[in-house]
């Protein structure tokens, strides 16, 4: 059920973003780009939700990896908790990698949005309008 709502939210965000990008006002286009990039961010986060037993890091079987020493083991005495669960355990967990990806993507979209807003301000200074139909001195 949650997944349905999440997918619907992402779809609606994409819809709004696409609609705004097709507007004729520069500022609306920029807002549309912002919404689109956040839709993508939500999409990436939704990729990291697992409700099964897929082990994110481990290749091969758990036992094999344990004997070769390639897996962290719980060591409660030293406060080390293993990030990898036993194969076969039913547990809901979230992939940490996608969150790192989203952080990167958010920072990048912040920088580009800041740049493009300044550009829009300069365009408004030069052209005296934010109507995209007026920006036609160069023909594609």
């Amino acid at each position: 059920m949650n997944n349905t709502f999440l997918s619907l939210t992402i779809a609606i965000l994409f819809g709004i973003g696409t609609f705004l990008i097709l507007r004729r006002d520069i500022v609306k286009v920029i807002i549309g780009l912002g919404i689109l990039s956040h839709a993508v961010n939500v999409l990436i986060v939704s990729v990291g939700i697992f409700d099964g037993t897929r082990v994110p890091i481990l290749a091969g079987s758990y036992n094999e990896a344990e004997t070769t020493g390639s897996v962290f083991n719980d060591n409660l005495a030293e406060d080390i908790l293993s990030p990898v669960v036993q194969a076969g355990t039913h547990i809901d967990y979230v992939d940490p990698l996608v969150q790192a990806l989203v952080l990167t993507a958010i920072v990048i979209s912040l920088a580009t949005t800041a740049f493009i807003l300044i550009l829009a301000y300069r365009i408004h200074e030069e052209y005296g309008t934010t109507d995209i139909r007026e920006l036609r001195r160069l023909w594609g």
């Binding site: 780009l33 999409l43 990436i44 897929r54 493009i116 365009i123 001195r137 160069l138």
Partner: protein, 513 residues
């Protein structure tokens, strides 16, 4: 020395990033800033040559950033990456020397050097990375820094700043849409195979393809990647930003954009389609060939109708990128080698033409070819150099472009793609027409340059502007007369691309925690 050779891939990315910061602090002392930056680029070119030499003798080089094995970011230098890095650094070194005299003092001293360094860091990073999300990050780095560079002013202001704003706006919006599409593709790929390392993705995709369980959306992801890299490389339905952006940028930046930056799309196509999607590639080959042919036709026909010299060169870039994609679309080792030869030749010749056009514009005080004329007497150097570049682009024998076109068409005929090759040859004649017509308009006929027109004082090309052009012209002639080393390198690179098993082994047989 051993430490240096071991850390070559990271040095090629870290030095530009660090020096971009240093350049900001050196704003107050422009002379030191200039000299230091030129010195840094000289060192970087040497490092790139060392990297190529090391990869050529020692095989694929894998560098772990951090010690996370295939789960962390790794840098992979195979022949394609290191060759592209060398090409990038060579052209950026020469463009940098050129821009010291070409760019207006205030722009040059404030942000130009640091943005230029960031652009090169982004280019090197995208060529060297082995992680597909990291590729996206470096795409953004080079996108933002190139936007900043397009706005930089020239000494002779022939381009209005409102034009620059408009072009940058289009470029930025379309590239941001492209990167959004790329993020969607990367996220879907990660959801499908659960890894971001390109070699690892390739293993998992081909394993599920061999088991017959390849999900249908892998095809959709591949199409998304065609859009992403097509947008970067400006192939036909996605090329509308290029003829606005490349002419409005100052000439050394146009040279970087046309020479190297659109080749990022070609590199991405080669990397992603021949490594990750190699099992589903036959399905996409017709699409790539069709788009390449459309690009050739559109680029050639549009270039004929231009009066602005830089705009004509930009449309010519679109047409030439079509030839490179044609070779990629045919998809055998021979044709890929041919398109790599074409790529190198086009990068050198087109950056040289853009640099020359900068000199011509400063001499004539206008970008309109029909308002120039008879400049062969007053600007003999620019005339001869433009002729060398034009001959190379249109494929006339002693120049490198002839070898490139010859190898490409020969490989196409050997692979029995008769009709695409016929179309490509037909539109190569268009290239000859518009290049030679431009040369005759500008340098023959009645004398008509800025001194006669009585407008802005011309800016005579100093030695700093002439040297890079002459070096690039020499490279063009050498590539035409002594093409064997390049052909051998391209052949070896193409074999590595078509059979990615060594790449995968080199990446995955590292110590995996």
């Amino acid at each position: 020395m051993i430490i240096l050779t071991d850390h070559l891939p990271i040095l090629l990315i870290a030095i530009p990033i660090l020096s971009s910061m240093v350049m900001v602090f050196l704003k107050g002392s422009p002379v030191l800033q200039k000299n230091l930056n030129v010195f840094i680029y000289f060192c970087l070119v040497i490092l790139a040559i060392m990297l190529l030499q090391k990869v050529w003798t020692g095989g694929i080089m894998v560098y772990e950033v951090g010690e996370w094995g295939k789960y962390g970011i790794i840098l992979v230098a195979d022949l394609l990456s290191s060759g592209m890095v060398l090409l990038t650094l060579g052209i950026s070194f020469l463009s940098l020397i050129y821009s010291l005299d070409y760019i207006e003092e205030r722009s040059l001293n404030s942000t130009y050097h640091s943005l230029f360094n960031l652009l090169v860091a982004g280019l090197n990073g995208s060529f060297l990375t082995g992680d597909i999300f990291n590729l996206f990050v470096f795409f953004e780095v080079l996108l933002l820094s190139s936007c900043g560079l397009v706005i930089a002013n020239e000494k002779v202001g022939v381009t209005r700043s409102s034009d620059k704003m408009e072009a940058t706006f289009k470029y930025l919006i379309l590239s941001m849409l492209g990167s959004i599409v790329m993020l969607i593709a990367v996220a879907s790929l990660y959801a499908t195979v659960g890894t971001l390392n390109m070699a690892d993705i390739a293993v998992k995709v081909s394993a599920s393809s061999a088991a017959g369980t390849l999900p249908w959306h892998v095809f959709a992801i591949a199409l998304l990647f065609i859009v992403v890299f097509g947008n970067k490389a400006a192939i036909f339905p996605l090329h509308y930003w290029l003829p606005d952006v490349h002419p409005t940028a100052p000439s050394p930046i146009s040279a970087m954009l046309s020479g190297v930056l659109i080749k990022i799309g070609v590199y991405g196509m080669l990397r992603v389609f021949f490594l990750i999607f190699r099992d589903v590639l036959p399905m996409f080959q017709p699409i790539i060939i069709l788009m390449a042919l459309a690009t050739i036709v559109v680029g050639a026909v549009s270039a004929v109708g231009q009066t602005d010299i830089k705009r004509m060169l930009a449309y010519s870039s679109i047409g030439q990128i079509g030839y490179i994609f044609l070779g990629i679309g045919m998809g055998s080792a021979l044709t890929i080698a041919a398109s790599l030869v074409y790529l190198v030749n086009h990068a050198v010749a087109k950056s040289m033409l853009f640099l020359t056009s900068g000199g011509i514009i400063h001499h004539a005080g206008t970008r309109d070819m029909y308002r120039m004329g008879g400049m062969i007497k007053s600007a003999p150097l620019m005339a001869s150099m433009f002729l060398v570049g034009a001959m190379s682009i249109s494929g006339i024998p002693p120049m490198g472009g002839f070898i490139a076109k010859f190898v490409l068409f020969k490989a196409g005929i050997q692979e029995e793609y008769y009709i695409p090759v016929a179309i490509a040859i037909l539109f190569a004649l268009f290239t000859l027409f518009y290049m030679m017509r431009a040369w005759m308009k500008m340098f023959w006929g009645t004398v008509n340059d800025s001194e006669r027109q009585g407008n802005a004082t011309p800016h005579a090309p100093a030695l700093l502007m002439a040297i890079p052009i002459i070096i690039l012209a020499l490279i063009i002639v050498v590539l035409g007369l002594y093409a064997e080393p390049l052909l051998a390198l391209a052949q070896a690179t193409a074999e590595q691309i078509v059979d990615p098993q060594p790449y995968i082994d080199a990446v995955l047989t590292r110590n995996v925690r």
